[in-house]
Symmetry: C2
Subunit: 336 residues, 2 copies
Amino acid sequence: MTIYDIAREAGVSASTVSRVINKRPGISESTRKKVQKILDEYHYIPDVAARGLVTQASRFIGILIEDIRVSHHTESAYVIEQEMTRQGYTCITFSTGGDSKKKAQYIQILEQRRVEGAIFIGSMFEIEEVKESVKQHLSNIPIVVMNGDLDLPNTYSVQTDEERGIEEAVALLAQKGRKNLAYLMDVANPANKRKQRGFTTGMLRLGMEGAERMIFAEVDGTAGPRSSVERGRMETVELLKKMPAVDGILCETDMLAVGCMKELKRQGIRIPEQTAIIGVDNTLYGQVCSPTLTTIDNKSGDMSLAAANTLMDVLQGRPVNHRMILPAEVIRREST
Amino acid sequence: MTIYDIAREAGVSASTVSRVINKRPGISESTRKKVQKILDEYHYIPDVAARGLVTQASRFIGILIEDIRVSHHTESAYVIEQEMTRQGYTCITFSTGGDSKKKAQYIQILEQRRVEGAIFIGSMFEIEEVKESVKQHLSNIPIVVMNGDLDLPNTYSVQTDEERGIEEAVALLAQKGRKNLAYLMDVANPANKRKQRGFTTGMLRLGMEGAERMIFAEVDGTAGPRSSVERGRMETVELLKKMPAVDGILCETDMLAVGCMKELKRQGIRIPEQTAIIGVDNTLYGQVCSPTLTTIDNKSGDMSLAAANTLMDVLQGRPVNHRMILPAEVIRREST
DNA sequence: CTGTTAGCGCTTTCAT
DNA sequence: ATGAAAGCGCTAACAG
């Protein structure tokens, strides 16, 4: 079914049909009715790709995520997709994985599809290869980076102040009388570097010595949820050997914290009496485990909405800041 | 940058450039090199929509999910997207929500985008409105329904035998000496109806009387992960009132089971000594909670792969069965 | 108010 | 081996 088939059937020209479809003014009510009837009869739906070819608008938005299975990424993808769909755009979403070459490949796919804008979810996109690829392939469409920054004329950054959130968490631990704090790290990426800095400054600010020494182990690789739990467990084994007096542990992610708690419980260490635990992300896992987990909520829902809105603003020519920072919030539960 | 710009720059015709891009034979090595050089220089990427217009192939696959935030749906979307991307297709994924009218709307969007195939994830698509909409808008492309069936000439069904899995779970409970079994239900949908039937037959087969009476409460609405946990908790409150002697509870989903366990623990009921619990879905939540949850693995990863493969098979003209059923597996953990 | 024409970026005969 | 021309389904001037 093409517009010509409809036109022939209705005894009018293709442009008239087009006008009816697009609700353009300047058409007699009678022809409109006549054409609409045929349209309905055949359940005609226009080919938006063909339309896009002439209007030069794909109505596509590209979304790149490192791994959609990570729960706060899922949440982000969901919020953005809902919002964009509501605005008449269609989202093309890819889980790129950790590999930077692959990220560049996906950027090419976005160009192939002529997306009108893009959102990159996660600080792992804050790397040189991506920046270069964006310059080459997506330099004239707006791109919003969540929890990261690419610092290009066409990129916008929406972040949560996790660094500050971690500082507050350190303060909370200190206030609870904890003296021997450790920081458990997950995968190395820019956002996590910022969190780590938050721990260091938080410690220094409270006059706690040897912050460096207390930072634990850095691991490379991909941050799958299942692997993070296991890593948390293993890091805790090591931690307890090196620092038996530890009484407060700050974990870079909830999943890490969940693994950490598993091991502490296995060794008969009571939470929070002997050791307090704090995670990051405010996932459902932190509510499901027991004791329930104190966590730093990085407001991924708010951030996602802000990202979607920012993109729409740029797309519709409204003025927008290139950087936007939302506050994080410490959510207190049983583990502290 | 269009193919004509490249052609002019290289001093050849557009068709020659097209031939180089598509690696067609019958072109001299020298022109190929010359053209390729310009192509690389300008980082040229073809517009697949324009290509699709002439080749009549969008290379799009549509994916409809009720809610991508439900963890086994996320997993499915991930597996399918990876597989399809590997095959050169691009996925357009939508979270449709529970509303059946909305589902029909999304089907229209898939037609607008001229997807070449589609996968519907979840039994909630097994409804008349969807079937009608598919007949009207997607009657000539292959559609794979996961965990459900639409029973149309162009639809294919891939399912896990959860019914049988539940039967086995009932047998496990009986074998552990449990006499007073209850079945906690989540949201009403076709897949859950099948599970419920599994419980009933499982009970009857073991000669356990009054199966009906033991089936608990049916709730309508959307099955968000957070709401399911809360519902599990509340249903358990009711259950313990009506059936204080309950010593084995089968929950329709892990999330429900997690909520159920939360309440049992709150009331000081020991798991599994006093009451054994079994969930469905084999989510990470079941590994994170304590005690860890015995669950029925519905193999969503396998099912997703099977769905993706089935779709590819049809797309490439290989013979395919219209129905495919995979076995479920009971995973034993601490809660039994 | 409606039809004719051209063209979006690409591929594909058909000539040469 | 290469180019010219037509056309995919649609919209957008421009006429009338």
